[in-house]
C-alpha cells in the first residue's frame, strides 16, 4: 500500500526510513523531507492554540503527481510520514489513519526497549517486520 514509511526524530532527522523495493529511494527521501515543512507548519499552527489534546494525525501533507504524502506526529514531536501512490485511490483516509496508529504502537514498543536511546536510529528486527506487515496491508 505505502511506498515509503519514515520515522523522523524530534530534531527532524530520520530515525527509520523504509522505501518500497523498486522505488527511487532518493526521490522518496526528498518527498518525506519536504513533507516536514508542512508538518512543522501544521504543528506550529496547532500548538499556538493552547489547551486540549491535538489530533496526532495530520492528514495529507501534500501531493505530487505521483505520490501522496501523509503525516502524523506524536506528542513527543516524533513524526511519521507515509507516502502512497497518488494513483492508489482505494486507500481511504481512515485506513491511512489506522496505519499511523499501528506505526505509533510499533514505535512505542521500540522506545520501550531499555537498550534503545531515543533519538537514535532504529535498528530493530521487530520493527522491520512490523513495517513490512504494515505496508503490505495486513
Amino acid at each position: 500500500m505505502a511506498v515509503c514509511v519514515a520515522v523522523i526524530g524530534k530534531e527532524n532527522s530520520p530515525l527509520y526510513v523504509w522505501v518500497g523495493s523498486g522505488r527511487e529511494e532518493l526521490h522518496l527521501h526528498y518527498l518525506a523531507h519536504t513533507g516536514l515543512d508542512v508538518i512543522q507548519e501544521k504543528v506550529a499552527a496547532v500548538s499556538k492554540t493552547p489547551g486540549d489534546t491535538r489530533e496526532l494525525y495530520l492528514g495529507l501533507l501534500y501531493a505530487s503527481e505521483e505520490y501522496k504524502v501523509f503525516g502524523y506526529t506524536t506528542n513527543t514531536r516524533v513524526k511519521f510520514v507515509i507516502i502512497t501512490d497518488a494513483a492508489n485511490t482505494t486507500l481511504r483516509d481512515n485506513e491511512i489513519r489506522m496505519m499511523f496508529r499501528r506505526l505509533h504502537n510499533m514505535y512505542t514498543n521500540v522506545v520501550c526497549n531499555p537498550f534503545y536511546i531515543p533519538g537514535e536510529q532504529i535498528t530493530s528486527r521487530e520493527f522491520d517486520r512490523g513495517v513490512a506487515a504494515l505496508v503490505a496491508g495486513n
Binding site: G9, E11, N12, S13, P14, V17, E25, L26, H29, Y30, H33, T34, L36, D37, V38, E41, K42, A45, Y62, E65, G119
Partner: protein, 1333 residues
C-alpha cells in the same frame, strides 16, 4: 483549482501567449504604470547606467493633484527588459502595457546623438504593432528640452557645461511611450481637443513636452489611432576624466570655453525626433533628474487620467471587443451583434476602465467598477475576463488593505538590481525572513482604522481575497494560453497569503504553480524553479525551497541542456544547503549534527563536489569532499568511507586543501576550512613528562609551600584549586628549553583502511616551539593507537599546546583541542624552564683497567651491575659527560639506598672533593669519579652464632671440651634449646625471633636487613635470620648514585636536574664462618679463636688468617683454623659494656674486639681475586667471655720456685713434695673482692675422662682451698702449698680462682655476669710428670 480541460480550447500561435511570467509580481503591480528604461548606444558604461537606473527607480511614487484638487498617488514600475508579447496583453490587464520609455545613452558628437535618437525610435518601433510611434512621427514635432537648471535649449542657446569639459556627452532620453491603446477604442473617440488639454496640463507643469496627437488611423481596422504622450529627456553629460580620450574630445574641448556655438550645433537632436532629450555632462550632474522624472510621471498620469475620463464618460452604441491576444482568432466569424456579445464587450470595457481607474490611483472606484464588470461578465460566461476581474478586484483590495506589501516587494525587486537575473533576487529574498513581516500582518501602519472601515464596505475581506484569487486561478486554468497569467495570479495570491500569515494555504497555491504547464526555455525553467524556491522560502518552507533550488540547479546542467552552466548550478546548490541543514563550517555543523537528513545531505554534498569539479575549481572541490568525508562520517558505511576517502585523495592530489577559508568567486561566499577533527579521532592527550634524568626540578629550598591555611580540607581552597588546575590543563611538571619534549596522543582510526597521516605536528602558543613533523600510519583496526609528537621549546615561559595539525588524505587540518569532542581540556599549559645542562653518566671499570670500554649507563636511571665475591673490593670509575650545550656549574652527589648509613659507607666510598675540583664541566666535557665498592657481607653463618665448636678435641688434642669448670661445657648438641638452664632464657628468646623472621623472609632476599642488625651495636635482641642453605646464597647490594646538577640559564632560575645511576652489586659468597669457639692460647694474654671456615666459592681459596699463616681450601670444603687473638683488656670491656643489660652486651663488645683483630684475607680463583673477610658481628657466649677477656688477676705460679709459663714441663719424683707457689696480682682497675682460690689435681686419661679421685695417688700439703683477702689495685697475694705424689704418672693441676661465695653478689661481678659463675683458671693446667725416683 487545476483544470486540465482548459488547454484544448484553443491552439493559438505562440506569439499570443506571454513569453514568461514575472515571478516578482505582486498585486500592487495592478496599480502601477510600467516604464521601460533602456540603455542605448555602446558608449555608455553599464555601471553608470545602473547608477542612473537606480536613481530613476527611486522615483517610484509620485503624488499628483488631479483636476478636483485631491491628491492621487501614482506608482511607477521601471523595467529594463520587457517582452513585447507581454505588452500585447495590455488590453487584458492595462498594467502590462508599457506606458513610457526612457533611454539612456552617451554621445560625443551629433552623429552619436543621431544614432541614439534612431535607436530610441527603433525601440519604439520594436513594438510589432508600432502604431503609437507611427502616430507620433506624424504629429508636429516639437522637441524642446530646456533644462530648469538653465541649460539652454539645444536649439538656440549654447550648451554650457557639456563641451566645457569634454566633447562627449551622455544622452539620456526619456520617452514616454504612450498608453498605446489598441485600435478600436479611440477610433470612435475622435476627441481631438481633450488631449490638447492634457497637453496644456503638462506644459503648464514643466518644460516637459508632451506631444499628443490624435490621428484617425487608416491602417487596419484594429489599429488606427493612437495617442502618443511622448516625453523625452535628453541628457548630455561629459565623462569624468577623459582628458586624453580621443581626438574628438580634444577637438571639442578646444571649442568649449569660448563659445559653445559649435557644440550647440553638434548636439542637436534630429528634427524629426519628437521625444524630449535631456543633456547632462555626467551622471552625477543630473541633479534634476528626479524632478524631471516626476514631471514625466505626472504627465503619464495625465494621459492615463484623460483616458479614464474618456472612457467613463462615453456611452457607446457598439462597444469594441477587447481581447487577449490569443482570443482574437476565436472571435472571427462570430456574431458580434448578439446580445451576449454586446454584453461581453461592455463588460470587458468596464473591466478595462476599472484597470485604468486603479492605475489612476482610485482603488475604491476601481473596486466598484470591477464588481460591475464581474457581474456582467459572469452572465456571459466569459471566464477569462471574469478571472481578470477578480484578480483586479483582489488587487484593488490588497492595495487598500496591505499597502506594506508593496514595500517588501519593492525591496525585493530593488535588491535584484545589482547582480541581475534571478540570482540576486533570490539573495535579496533570503534576507527577508518570515519573522520580519510580523508587523505587517494586521492593520497596515499609517492606515487609520476608520479609513479601513470606510473602505471595507467596498473592498474584499482578507478571506474573500483568497477566495477570489482561487476562483480567478480556476478560471485561468481553463485556458492554456493564460498560463503566465495564472502563474502570476498564483504568485500574487501567495504574496497576499504570506502577508496574512496563512502559510499552509500559500504553499497550496504555490504547489499549484508547479502544475501549470508552460512552454519555457531552459533558462526560464531555471528561473521559475528558483523563483518558486524563493517563494517557498518566504512561506517558511525551507526544505521545499531547497528542493526547488536544487531542481533549478540540476536544470542548469541537465544533459539535454546545450550550454550547461556549472557556475550557476554551483551557486544555486550552495543556496540549498540551508534547507538541508548543512552548514559548511564543520564546527557549526557538528553542533546541530543531529538535525537534517543524512542521505540527502550526502547527496547534495556529492553534487557540490561534482559541480565544483566541473567548474574546474579544484580547491573548492577538495574542500567539499573533505567536508563530506569529515562531517558525514558517522553516516557513511565502511565501503562508502573507503570510496569517499579515495576520491578525496585523488582530488587533493590535484589541489591540496589547506586550513584557510576559500572564497567562491562572484558570490563572495566563504567556504570555511575543513579540519579533520574526527579523522583520526583523538581520544586522549598526554603531555609526556621528561624522563627521569631530563626532568627539571626546582631547587628544594625554593619549593613554595602551599599555604592552605590551618585546615586540612577547606571546600573553598581545595576544590577550587583542583578545578582550576583541571580546567586550565596545567601540567605539574616542567619542560626544559632546548630539550626534546613529547606529547602522546591516543588516536583512533575511524576509516576502514590504513590511515596515513603525513605531517603531524603540535600547534603551540606563547613560547616559541620547534614542532617536528612526523608521519604516522594508523592501522586499520578499532581501538586506540598512541602516537608521539615531538618538538623542542626555543624559549622559556608558559607554553600552551592548543592542538595539532595533520595532513590526512591530502587535506591539512588544524585540530584545536577545544574543538575536539572527546577532550575536555581546551589547552595544556606547560612551564618551560630555561636551558639546563644535561649529563650523561658513563661507567668504566678502572680496576680492570678497561676504561676504553666505557659504556653509557644511559641518560636516565641507568644502572651499573657488579658481581663481586663477598669481601672483594672494586674500583668503579663513573664518568659524567656533559652532553648539552650548557656548562655544569653545580654538582652534588648523594647515595641513596635502603641500606643503613654505616653499611652504605662500608660498601661505597668516593671522594667528593675530587669531583668538586673538576667543576665546571664545559659543554662536551667530562668529569670522573671513582667509586670504591666493597662487597660487604656477613661472613658468619647465620643461625650458628653461639654454638661452640662441636669437638674441640679435634684441634686441641687432649684439651677438655671446655675449660670452664663452673660453667656449662660446650655441648655436643646443636640444639640451642638444649643448653643449660642458666642460659635458657635469652636463647629461647632469640630462637623465637629468628623463627618468626624466617617465616616472613626468604633466605636469599635478606640484604641490608641482616647486615644492619650486625652493625647495630646497641640493639639488645639481635635478629639473625637463617638461610636455607646457610652462607651459600647470593645477595645483592643496591644503591642509587644521585647526581644533582645545574648550570647555565636554568641555574639562575633556580632549577636543577638530577640523574641517578643505580649501582647493584651482586655478592657471591666466598667465605663463610660456620662455627667458632674460643680456646685458651699458650700465652696467657692470648686466646685462640677457632673458626670453621667454609669456602662457598667455586674456586680454590688461599686463605691468610694470620699474617704468616695461610691455608688452601678447596671449593666447598670446610676447614678449621685457630687464630691467635690478644685477649680483650678488661678496661675496654667495662667501658663499652656498661650499657648492656645482660651478658650478651659483653659478647658484642668482645665480638667487636675479636673482629677488629682478626682479618681473613683471601685470594680466590684463577685471577687471584683478593678479598678480605671480617668477623664483624661475631658474638661469643658468656662461657667464653673469661677466655677472651684478660683476667683481672695475674697468675704467678711457681713449682719449686721455678716460674711456670704455659706448657713448661715440670717433673717430680714419687714421694718428694713439690712446692707449688701461687701468686695472684690484681691487674684490673678496681679492687678485687675476696676470691676463693682452689688448687685441684687430676689425671687426664686422654679419652675424655678426667679422674679427680686421686686420693690414693697423691696428697697435698697445705690448703688447697682458701679465700683471698680483698686485693687492691696492683696488690699481690701469695699462697704456697705442697704436693706429694705416691705413684708415678702424669698429673695435672688446675688452679682456679672464683669469686668467694660471700662476695658473689657484690657489685663488681654483677656488672659482668650476674647469672654466671665466674672463674679464672691458670691455663694451661699445670702438668707434672712424676717419675719413680
Amino acid at each position: 483549482m487545476r483544470s486540465s480541460v482548459s488547454v484544448i480550447l484553443s491552439t493559438p500561435p505562440p506569439v499570443t501567449t506571454m513569453s514568461y511570467p514575472d515571478y516578482t509580481t505582486s498585486p500592487h503591480h495592478h496599480q502601477t504604470l510600467l516604464v521601460l528604461v533602456r540603455q542605448v548606444g555602446s558608449q555608455l558604461k553599464s555601471r553608470s547606467f545602473h547608477k542612473l537606473y537606480e536613481r530613476i527607480s527611486r522615483v517610484g511614487h509620485v503624488k499628483v493633484n488631479d483636476s478636483n484638487g485631491s491628491q492621487r498617488p501614482v506608482w511607477v514600475t521601471y523595467r529594463r527588459d520587457y517582452p513585447i508579447e507581454n505588452n500585447d496583453w495590455g488590453d487584458f490587464q492595462t498594467h502590462r502595457r508599457v506606458l513610457g520609455i526612457i533611454t539612456i545613452g552617451q554621445v560625443g558628437s551629433q552623429s552619436d546623438l543621431n544614432d541614439i535618437c534612431k535607436q530610441h525610435e527603433s525601440l519604439k518601433g520594436l513594438n510589432p504593432d508600432g502604431t503609437m510611434y507611427e502616430a507620433a512621427s506624424q504629429g508636429p514635432s516639437r522637441s524642446t528640452s530646456p533644462d530648469p537648471s538653465g541649460t539652454p535649449d539645444p536649439g538656440g542657446a549654447p550648451q554650457t557645461p557639456v563641451p566645457a569639459i569634454n566633447g562627449h556627452a551622455h544622452v539620456k532620453k526619456v520617452s514616454a511611450g504612450s498608453t498605446d491603446r489598441d485600435s478600436g477604442v479611440y477610433e470612435t473617440v475622435g476627441g481631438e481637443e481633450k488631449p490638447t488639454d492634457s497637453d496644456s496640463h503638462s506644459e503648464g507643469a514643466a518644460d516637459l513636452k508632451i506631444d499628443t496627437n490624435h490621428v484617425n488611423g487608416s491602417d487596419s481596422g484594429s489599429e488606427s489611432t493612437s495617442e502618443v504622450g511622448c516625453c523625452e529627456e535628453t541628457k548630455a553629460d561629459s565623462p569624468r576624466d577623459s582628458a586624453v580620450e580621443s581626438m574628438l574630445d580634444t577637438s571639442h574641448s578646444s571649442i568649449n570655453s569660448s563659445a559653445s556655438q559649435a557644440s550647440k550645433v553638434c548636439l542637436h537632436p534630429p528634427s524629426n525626433f519628437k521625444t524630449r532629450a535631456l543633456f547632462y555632462p555626467t551622471g552625477d550632474h543630473a541633479v534634476n533628474i528626479e524632478s524631471q522624472l516626476q514631471e514625466f510621471v505626472s504627465s503619464l498620469f495625465w494621459v492615463l487620467e484623460s483616458k479614464r475620463l474618456d472612457k467613463s464618460q462615453e456611452k457607446l452604441e457598439r462597444p469594441p471587443l477587447l481581447c487577449a491576444p490569443f482570443e482574437r482568432k476565436d472571435f472571427i466569424g462570430l456574431d458580434m451583434d448578439s446580445r451576449t456579445n454586446k454584453k461581453r464587450c461592455a463588460g470587458r470595457l468596464r473591466k478595462q476602465l476599472a484597470d485604468l481607474t486603479l492605475q489612476a490611483g482610485l482603488p475604491v472606484e476601481a473596486i466598484v467598477q470591477y464588481s460591475h464588470a464581474a457581474d456582467t461578465l459572469r452572465h456571459c460566461n466569459d471566464w477569462l475576463w471574469l478571472a481578470a476581474c477578480f484578480e483586479g478586484l483582489c488587487a484593488a483590495s490588497v492595495v487598500m488593505l496591505y499597502p506594506n506589501l508593496r514595500r517588501s516587494v519593492g525591496l525585493q525587486r530593488y535588491s535584484s538590481l545589482g547582480v541581475g537575473g534571478h540570482q540576486g533576487g533570490a539573495g535579496g529574498v533570503l534576507n527577508r525572513s518570515r519573522n520580519g513581516s510580523i508587523n505587517t500582518n494586521s492593520l497596515p501602519s499609517g492606515l487609520e482604522p476608520t479609513i479601513v472601515k470606510q473602505t471595507s464596505k467596498h473592498c474584499l475581506s482578507p478571506d474573500d481575497i483568497v477566495e477570489k484569487y482561487r476562483e480567478a486561478i480556476v478560471h485561468y486554468s481553463k485556458y492554456r494560453n493564460a498560463g503566465v497569467v495564472e502563474t502570476e495570479a498564483s504568485i500574487k495570491a501567495v504574496h497576499v497569503l504570506i502577508e496574512q500569515r496563512r502559510y499552509l494555504m500559500a504553499a497550496e497555491f504555490l504547489s499549484n504553480v508547479v502544475f501549470i504547464n508552460l512552454q519555457l526555455s531552459d533558462e526560464e525553467k531555471i528561473a521559475r524553479f528558483s523563483a518558486l524556491a524563493d517563494l517557498y522560502h518566504q512561506v517558511g518552507f525551507q526544505r521545499k525551497a531547497s528542493f526547488f533550488r536544487r531542481v533549478a540547479a540540476m536544470r542548469c546542467v541537465a544533459p539535454q541542456n546545450q550550454q550547461p552552466d556549472w557556475g550557476q548550478c554551483y551557486r544555486l546548490l550552495l543556496q540549498t544547503l540551508d534547507g538541508y541543514k548543512v552548514c559548511l563550517d564543520p564546527l557549526e555543523f557538528r553542533k546541530d549534527g543531529s538535525q537534517g537528513w543524512p542521505s540527502l545531505q550526502i547527496q547534495i554534498l556529492q553534487e557540490l563536489v561534482g559541480t565544483s569539479r566541473r567548474m574546474g575549481q579544484n580547491a573548492l572541490c577538495t574542500r567539499h569532499q573533505a567536508f563530506l568525508v569529515s562531517a558525514m562520517l558517522p553516516h557513511l558505511k565502511d565501503p562508502e568511507r573507503q570510496e569517499t576517502a579515495l576520491m578525496l585523495e585523488s582530488l587533493s592530489a590535484r589541489s591540496g586543501s589547506g586550513p584557510a577559508p576559500l572564497v567562491v568567486q562572484e558570490t563572495g561566499i566563504i567556504i570555511p576550512p575543513v579540519n579533520f577533527l574526527n579523522i583520526p579521532t583523538c581520544r586522549r592527550v598526554r603531555i609526556v613528562s621528561p624522563a627521569g634524568g631530563r626532568k627539571a626540578e626546582k631547587k628544594s629550598s625554593l619549593i613554595p609551600e602551599d599555604d592552605n591555611g590551618p585546615f586540612i580540607f577547606s571546600p573553598f581552597s581545595s576544590l577550587s584549586n583542583n578545578n582550576d588546575r583541571k580546567s586550565q590543563g596545567k601540567v605539574d611538571f616542567d619542560w626544559v628549553e632546548g630539550d626534546v619534549c613529547e606529547v602522546c596522543l591516543e588516536l583512533e582510526n575511524p576509516m576502514p583502511f590504513e590511515l596515513k597521516i603525513t605531517t603531524m605536528m603540535l600547534i603551540t602558543e606563547e613560547v616559541q616551539f620547534e614542532s617536528w613533523t612526523s608521519t604516522i600510519v594508523l592501522k586499520n583496526e578499532r581501538g586506540l593507537q598512541s602516537v608521539t609528537l615531538r618538538g623542542r621549546p626555543q624559549g622559556s615561559g608558559q607554553l600552551q599546546i592548543t592542538g595539532y595539525s595533520s595532513t590526512v588524505m591530502g587535506v591539512t587540518s588544524n585540530c584545536r583541542f577545544k574543538f575536539l569532542p572527546h577532550l575536555r581540556t581546551p589547552q595544556y599549559t606547560i612551564n618551560v624552564v630555561p636551558a639546563l645542562p644535561m649529563i650523561q653518566i658513563l661507567s668504566g671499570n678502572s680496576s680492570t683497567g678497561s676504561l676504553g670500554a666505557e659504556q653509557a649507563v644511559g641518560e636516565e636511571c641507568g644502572s651499573l651491575h657488579l658481581s663481586l665475591s663477598a669481601g672483594e673490593t672494586h674500583e668503579c670509575s663513573v664518568v659524567l659527560h656533559n652532553v648539552s650545550s650548557q656548562p655544569v656549574e653545580e654538582l652534588a652527589i648523594t647515595l641513596e639506598s635502603k641500606m643503613d648509613k654505616d653499611m652504605l659507607h662500608q660498601v661505597f666510598q668516593y671522594s667528593r672533593e675530587n669531583l668538586q675540583a673538576q667543576l665546571p664541566i664545559p659543554p662536551g666535557g667530562r668529569a670522573s669519579l671513582t667509586l670504591y665498592v666493597y662487597a660487604a657481607c656477613d661472613f658468619l653463618a647465620p643461625g650458628r652464632l653461639d654454638e661452640s665448636l662441636e669437638t674441640t678435641s679435634l684441634l686441641s688434642g687432649s684439651e677438655p671440651p671446655s675449660l670452664v669448670s663452673g660453667g656449662p661445657p660446650s655441648l655436643p648438641s646443636r640444639q640451642s634449646v638444649a643448653t643449660s638452664s642458666t642460659r635458657a632464657a635469652p636463647r629461647a628468646r632469640r630462637a623465637d625471633s629468628s623463627a618468626s623472621l624466617l617465616s616472613s623472609r626468604s633466605g636469599s632476599s635478606m640484604r641490608s636487613g641482616s647486615s644492619s642488625s650486625t652493625q647495630a651495636a646497641t640493639s639488645s635482641v639481635r635478629t639473625r635470620t637463617t638461610a636455607p642453605t646457610p652462607g651459600c646464597s647470593n645477595r645483592t647490594l643496591e644503591a642509587n648514585l644521585l647526581v644533582k646538577y645545574s648550570g647555565g640559564a636554568g641555574m639562575s632560575a633556580e632549577y636543577c636536574r638530577s640523574t641517578q645511576v643505580g649501582v647493584s652489586v651482586e655478592v657471591t659468597p666466598s667465605l663463610q664462618v660456620t662455627r667458632w669457639d674460643v680456646l685458651p692460647a699458650e700465652l696467657p694474654h692470648q686466646c685462640y679463636v677457632v673458626l670453621d671456615l667454609l669456602n662457598c666459592a667455586t674456586h680454590e681459596m688461599d686463605l691468610h688468617y694470620t699474617p704468616t699463616k695461610h691455608i688452601l681450601i678447596e671449593a666447598g670444603d670446610s676447614c678449621r683454623v685457630p687464630v691467635p687473638v690478644d685477649r680483650c683488656p678488661l678496661a675496654t670491656l667495662t667501658e663499652d659494656g656498661r650499657e648492656s643489660e645482660s651478658g650478651w652486651g659483653w659478647s658484642e663488645v668482645l665480638g667487636g674486639h675479636v673482629a677488629s683483630l682478626v682479618e681473613l684475607r683471601w685470594t680466590l680463583g684463577p685471577n687471584d681475586t683478593p678479598g678480605r673477610a671480617s668477623l664483624a658481628g661475631i658474638t661469643f657466649p658468656p662461657s667464653t667471655h673469661d677466655l677472651i677477656t684478660m683476667a683481672p688477676i695475674h697468675w704467678d705460679v711457681q713449682v719449686d720456685g721455678q716460674e711456670v709459663v704455659g706448657g713448661t714441663e715440670n717433673s717430680g719424683v714419687v714421694g718428694r713434695p713439690l712446692q707449688l707457689g701461687v701468686g695472684i696480682t690484681n691487674t684490673s682497675g678496681a679492687p678485687l673482692p675476696p676470691l676463693s682460690l682452689r688448687i685441684t689435681a687430676f689425671q687426664d686419661h686422654q679419652n675424655g675422662h678426667l679422674n679427680y679421685r686421686l686420693d690414693a695417688k697423691m696428697t697435698t700439703i697445705g690448703a688447697t682451698k682458701l679465700t683471698t683477702p680483698q686485693l687492691k689495685e696492683g696488690e699481690e697475694f701469695q699462697h704456697c702449698c705442697g704436693l706429694v705424689f705416691f705413684t708415678a704418672g702424669v698429673f695435672k693441676v688446675e688452679v682456679t680462682c672464683s669469686p668467694a661465695a660471700v662476695a658473689a653478689q657484690t657489685s663488681f661481678y654483677e656488672n659482668i655476669t650476674p647469672a654466671h659463675q665466674h672463674a679464672w683458671k691458670f691455663a694451661p693446667p699445670l702438668e707434672i710428670t712424676v717419675t719413680d725416683a
